[in-house]
Amino acid sequence: MKRSAVILLMFGLGTLLLPAGIVAQTKPTQVTIGIGSEPLTLMGATIVDWTTNAQLENIYDLLFTRDPKDERIVPWLATGYKVVDDKTWEVTLRRDVRFHDRERFDASSVKFTFDYLLDPKNKTHYLPRFKRVQSVEVVNDSTVRFRTSEPYPSLLNDLSLPGPFMLAPVYVQKVGIEYASSHPIGTGPYKFKEWVRGERLVLTKNPDYWAGPVKIDTVIFRVIPEFSARLAALLSGEIDVMKDVPPQAVDTVNRSGRATVRSTVSSRINYLALETLHPGPMQNVKVRQAINYAVDVDELIKTVLAGQSTRICDYVSRFDPAYTPAVKCYGYNPDKAKQLLVEAGFDPGKLTLTLDTPTGRYPLDKEVSEAIAAQLGKIGLTVHVQVNEWRSHLDKIINRKVGDMFFLGWGPDLEPTGTIAQLFVGSLTYSSFGDPKIEEMIHKAEQITNPQANAAAYQKIQEALQPMAPWVPLWQQHDLYGVATWIKWQPRPDEKVWMWEATAK
């Protein structure tokens, strides 16, 4: 009798303790990400903005995505594609994917998304980008055809970068665009829970996510515009993740015990553009070459950026298929620089130049610009650094009112039509350089659909650009993320902060 009582007691205790054991094992995990500005809208496929898309990426999915290591395009909501002819692409879609409101994802969702995106009434930022798409046809439930008005070799690339995110037709049509813009429904790993404008966006895990189990239960994006406040929050444990830890703070973060700095070589490039689109000394190629010889890029990387950058000598990042080591760096040679200036008819001691830079937009952009000015000062040049607020900076570049040189970053640079074709055609918005021969080569390259041939053509263009010295190519940024020690997550070169890839240790 006693023994059975003891067994019963133990059994009873065991049953009581079992749920506690289960609960202890499955305590909900929450990651808080400190972000610099709030999302501009929660509707996918509307606005091009890193912060917005970084948050939307957790709610929605794209048709294609990028491999986190080598950035090669992989199918995502799509299963594959076929180039039917010059102006038609056929994309096959995954079956059994549902939106957060349980409606089916199928060809009609793709058509709806593109109809929305291309409608001038909606004024989406993706309208200019996908302009060449005339229509999206539903072939059957899991197949769509993109019909383009002219050959569109980079269609796949544009589909794989945020964000023509797939929208939910039934939902959007039911609640209307305005409501859906603040209460989003997607197919992604996280469901929308709450949005307090200017403060936070709260997402909870989607237990039925088609791509696999979601390991972090709650993701909160907290808006902390002031950079030092974000760092303070990271160090005090108020947030778990932040982007763009400055190189000098890396030690402080690593020693804090709360977080460590994870870095990745980014696909975003930084460069010093030498403006030739308005009259000035930079219109002389020898002056441009001289500047290239006078800037010691390695010293900049070592001292201003504490080694946190990877130098480039060509005009694209290493993730770009058009990357070519055949384009060599000019190398630091101040004497050659002075000589070239003299040959060009300038006295280095008397030449005054202006350098426009944004501030806080790229890692240490202002400091790098000031350092470059100091380096150029060593060969006698007087350089005035003009620090611009971001929007004025863009304004000046667009209106060709910028100084002789300007600092800019460009990325994610994953293929050349988004980079070379944009930046070396004189009439295009952010270009600083125009040359008829180069422009013709670009025009021809834009028509080539075969990826290898396309890349080879752009490599040739870069080789032609090198003696013309349109820029001083600087580096690929290192993206430094401060991440709490208990989170297992690696940053990506394409700047996606995708919490689906994170787990708790």
Partner: protein, 305 residues
Amino acid sequence: MTRYLVARVLQAVIAVFFALTAVFFLVRITGDPVILFLPLDVQPKDITEFRHLLGFDQPVWVQYGTFLGRALHGDFGASLRYRAPALPLVLQRFPATVKLAVVSLALVAAGAVPIGVVSASHRGSLVDTLGIAVTALGQAVPGFWLGLMLIWIFGVWLRWFPVSGYGDWTHFVLPALTLAAFYAAQIARVTRSAVLDALGQDYVRTARAKGMSEPNVLARHVLKNAAIPVVTVFGLNAGQLLGGAVVTETIFAWPGLGGYILNALLGRDFPVVMVGVLFTSLIYVTMNFLVDLSYLWLNPQVRYG
């Protein structure tokens, strides 16, 4: 009296209208913002298309007319940045600023006035010197630096308070101190001199001669008479809080009105800027109006012609 009130209301309306118009045209001088709201890989002809879609290709006068017409119906258009109606967006930021302002005002009233009174009643003593020194510093220290130093000392080093954001009462402490500092110093000084002035008046001497105790003298005669200049300065300068708010909100990531409008101005988000200017000027003129009214009430001897 009524004539005066009507005149003031009219003046307020004109002031608001003037502000709106001035900002409308000035901001458009800087060029159109279309490009700033498009992605970097946009083509020139797309820019033209977008410009047309957003209505910026029309002559400025036409744009102004459209704006006024819509504004009278309460339609201030949609934010260029957020694609949502501008008015609700701005209104949403109100509570944070108002709460901070109220806390700051309370700090000023509860802190500065007593300091001024104590300082005056112990004139020449160590307490007085200390009070003078603190208030002089308060008026000299720039708000943005004070905020940063507070963050560094109390947030980073001592970890007593959070360094930014909007939340529970702990989040209010540092921003409110920063915002209130200059204003508090000013009020303390004014209070001190007003009390000193009142203390030197005949009726005080008479009261003392009659044997009234010092605290009683203070309470019965001095404070009442000192109140007028203090309240005047209090009201006149309450508006400074709005100006100081821009800096405080920026440093402490406070989701308020000031920082929001500044960002809209920088980002050339015209519809939000216009709503922002409307609100700021409305708050301003309302406050001035209230001050005038309270002055009238406090000191009925004043005549307005």
